[in-house]
Symmetry: C2
Subunit: 218 residues, 2 copies
DNA sequence: CAACTGTCTATACAGTTGTATATTTGTAGT
DNA sequence: ACTACAAATATACAACTGTATAGACAGTTG
């Protein structure tokens, strides 16, 4: 799952290494295991990851220049996996269901998923090296694009116009991610309420965007 | 400025210490100086702060249990100072001005303020100890409350009803803070555009909230 | 003055970190 | 089977961390 974006190198694998070969993915998984649900990537040390992966500290350099490069790879990987989950899940939505609520629910469900990929993306937006922050930003923009497309598509069906759909999509992305991050630090029992609130927020934005568009038409 | 919330202890000051006395504030300022515009609190070490403040490492313990306690104090202090700035600035808005746009502009202006208090609050929401994250959350809720009050007040004037004003206020707070954090990592020249976008997002939320309220009434 | 107070410092220690260097190991090619 | 080579390791080092311990200093009390 998490390996999909990183298989570039292993396809060219020069040696048919022994079964216990060490790739970038081994290290990524080790890092993921260390992170758990609350710890931040920036606190990972090179030695710690190497230890977890069962290799010597220096072997780390064969795969990543430093922990920062690993962090970026982790973000890219998590983002790709998540987007896959989302597009897959959205394909199965039956017509008539509330798309926004459905999406928010899928989103929040991922908070508790075993792989802990979403928390990764939620937590790490604002700290770290600039390269790292750019990686997170990139992933957010992918989501933003998908939401944008979805909005345009739906509104075309309804024959309405959406002014600044781009901005609305941006607002929705950021808002949902922020609320998700908030949810991470709260009790599990509070989450349904948060899902409800977040869905309502999203509806506010969509309706507000429509309303502003109508005004602009007159 | 940043000392307002922390003057508890110094008022009871037991000794008339020599002129170069070391308070919590001295350490807070040292930490602030080290942080600069991009560095995260969590990377501060006890020794580093002590060095910057010009005291021995162990003296740190006289004022804070650990760097985490200092971080919480820093957040509380920054939040209080910022809220003061905002309420002050909002008092001077002339009737007829767009409150939301005005507020967003004030907000974004604080991004470049010398004290760097806002960036502090924007950056540190999602990482760190749970105590620290709660401190940030607390500050966000203060802002949320103020926006809520403002919304209720304005909508009373217009005779409209606001459904879920609370949720709308929450959405606005989180969204503006997130967009602010995004702005921090972008070129200065891009910021006016971001201000525009963010203001529009806020207007979407407000209008969406109104629109949903009207629907609920029928 | 002497004793006591709280504040700050100096020294020290064990642990961890990133990385430079040299060495071993396992596999492929001829 | 022997060499060549890449991958992984072992050892080492200087820097830094948080903190334990003990001592120096100034100000307030008796």
């Amino acid at each position: 799952m998490t390996t999909s974006t990183l298989s570039r190198t292993e396809a060219v694998g020069p040696k048919t290494n022994s079964a216990r070969s060490i790739n970038r993915d081994t290290l990524l998984n080790a890092a993921l295991a260390l992170l758990g649900p609350h710890r931040s990537i920036s606190t990972l040390s090179l030695r710690e990851v190497a230890r977890e992966a069962g290799i010597a500290p220096n072997s780390f350099y064969r795969h990543f220049r430093d922990t920062d490069e690993l962090a970026v790879a982790l973000i890219d990987s998590a983002g790709a996996a998540l987007r896959h989950i989302f597009t897959e899940a959205r394909r199965n939505i039956r017509p008539g269901d509330s798309v926004t609520r459905m999406s928010v629910e899928i989103f929040m469900a991922q908070l508790e998923a075993e792989d802990q990929l979403l928390p990764l993306l939620l937590r790490e937006g604002t700290v770290g090296s600039s390269g790292f922050k750019q990686a997170v930003e990139r992933q957010l923009q992918y989501f933003e694009n998908e939401i944008h497309e979805e909005m345009v598509r739906l509104e075309n069906l309804k024959g309405n116009q959406l002014e600044d759909a781009r901005i609305a999509a941006r607002a929705i992305t950021r808002l949902v991610f922020t609320m998700g991050a908030t949810a991470l630090d709260q009790e599990l029992s509070d989450r349904p309420l948060l899902v409800e609130q977040t869905a309502k927020m999203v509806r506010m934005i969509i309706r507000g965007a429509q309303s502003l568009a109508i005004l602009a038409d007159e």
